[in-house]
Symmetry: C2
Subunit: 236 residues, 2 copies
DNA sequence: GGCGATTCAAAGGTAGCATCTTTACATTCG
DNA sequence: CGAATGTAAAGATGCTACCTTTGAATCGCC
């Protein structure tokens, strides 16, 4: 799952991507109510493109379970419970839209659920190189944090957490790296972070790294939980 | 996310669904290597359908990040790390294929991560009715478990866990109900379950239910962790 | 041998037509 | 008057033919 780009696909804007974006956002924001109908013909006129393009878009939205299409009826907007909420695009749209705060909270809770086990997994499965990098990143975090270089701190923090997910050896966890990235980034932008990272947080990162380096899953899990306690609190 | 059907869409087999199934399975199983190429023309000949249908299929597979298409090159199979592994269809394909055991383990680990927090969430956010139902389901589990009626036990167990996820109030959690359903079902089919559910397990279900009914998030989380400890062990 | 121009294969996009389903409406019969 | 049945139309599904755009690979020049 890749938030920024469609996997390997070249960034080259294909024609329909903007249509998907627009419709996806409308649906996710609630502007297009569940049960609401669209027709290919209508969309064709609205976006001034051929039917093929609209059809392609519909297939994609359908595959995200945002809509379904039925003969003689048209394209019907699905209720939120059907949406593939783990699809990177839907996550992005929800974070951009009015439901940002809500989505943010959900994702943070998901992080709190997953990251401790991911850390434990990393302590078990990480390669030697990954262990070394984790320790190194934690050190960098301290340096940058104490120096108050927040932007660089954020970048390294993202790298730290993404590496843990990857090293966990569980692809369901590593697929969430975009989620974690987005949440960390949003947390800073939204001013939910202290100006200077707290000593507590720096120490926790180091402790997690040490546990992973020392192949101690239980410690890694516990320390990660400590680390997340702060986060949890800020959102609740 | 719905494993069995595409949301509200009628079961009516649209033409391309079987093509998607076949190609999706080939990719997920590794039969079609990452970097491997397909062409629309080739697929057209292979499946004896028009270009339109193939294009629709490609859009869908592309939207799952299983492939990407490039002009002058064709349709290229993506590496596993790009796949939308939370897409219900991909989960299903992986569970059907040769990587079943591996996928099973990942999903179980995911359950262990998510369900405790979901239980805590349910203790906080469930409606009165949901709380009553949870308690009732736990009771049924005891009755069915002690009577050795395994099929019915499984059905109720699935209902129990799905309700927790739903009641958690976190849509990222409730979207995982298919995953949990599939894991529970597979666990029974694969003979990972004791013939008669253990007293320990029955008590844990009751304890979780009681904690939710009594609005005690911490207890719900702890009890759910106890419940999952057994599961965790069986898979590791 | 390296670098720019050319070629061309394959996807992207358009257009129009035929078909199939399902809904909505009208008609008929009890 | 109400239920069953027939019918028309709306709109998705599917096919074919044709043009455009892109970018990989080859060719040719320096």
């Amino acid at each position: 799952m890749v938030l920024s780009s469609q996997g390997q696909a070249p960034a080259a804007a294909v024609k329909y991507s903007s249509i998907i974006e627009e419709l996806g956002r409308s649906i996710v924001s609630g502007e297009l109510q569940p049960g609401g109908r669209l027709t290919i013909e209508g969309l064709q006129a609205r976006f001034k493109v051929s039917r093929t393009v609209i059809r392609d878009c519909m297939r994609i939205l359908e595959s995200m379970n945002l809509v379904f299409s039925k003969r003689r009826v048209g394209i019907v907007v699905q209720a939120p419970r059907h949406w593939n909420v783990y699809d990177a695009r839907i996550i992005r749209w929800r974070l951009e839209g009015t439901s940002r705060a809500r989505q943010f909270k959900s994702l943070t809770e998901l992080r709190c659920a997953v990251e401790p086990l991911a850390a434990a997994g990393a302590a078990r499965n990480a390669t030697q190189e990954q262990r070394a990098v984790v320790v190194n990143l934690a050190q960098q975090l301290r340096t940058l944090g104490e120096a108050g270089r927040l932007d660089e701190f954020l970048a390294v923090d993202i790298e730290f957490h993404a590496l843990l997910l990857l090293a966990s050896g569980n692809e369901m966890f590593s697929a969430l790296d975009d989620v974690v990235t987005e949440v960390l980034r949003g947390r800073t932008t939204q001013g939910l972070m202290p100006r200077t990272p707290r000593e507590y947080s720096l120490a926790s990162h180091e402790a997690v790294a040490a546990a992973i380096a020392g192949s101690d899953p239980d410690a890694a899990e516990t320390e990660m939980r400590n680390l997340l306690a702060e986060v949890q609190e800020a959102v609740t």
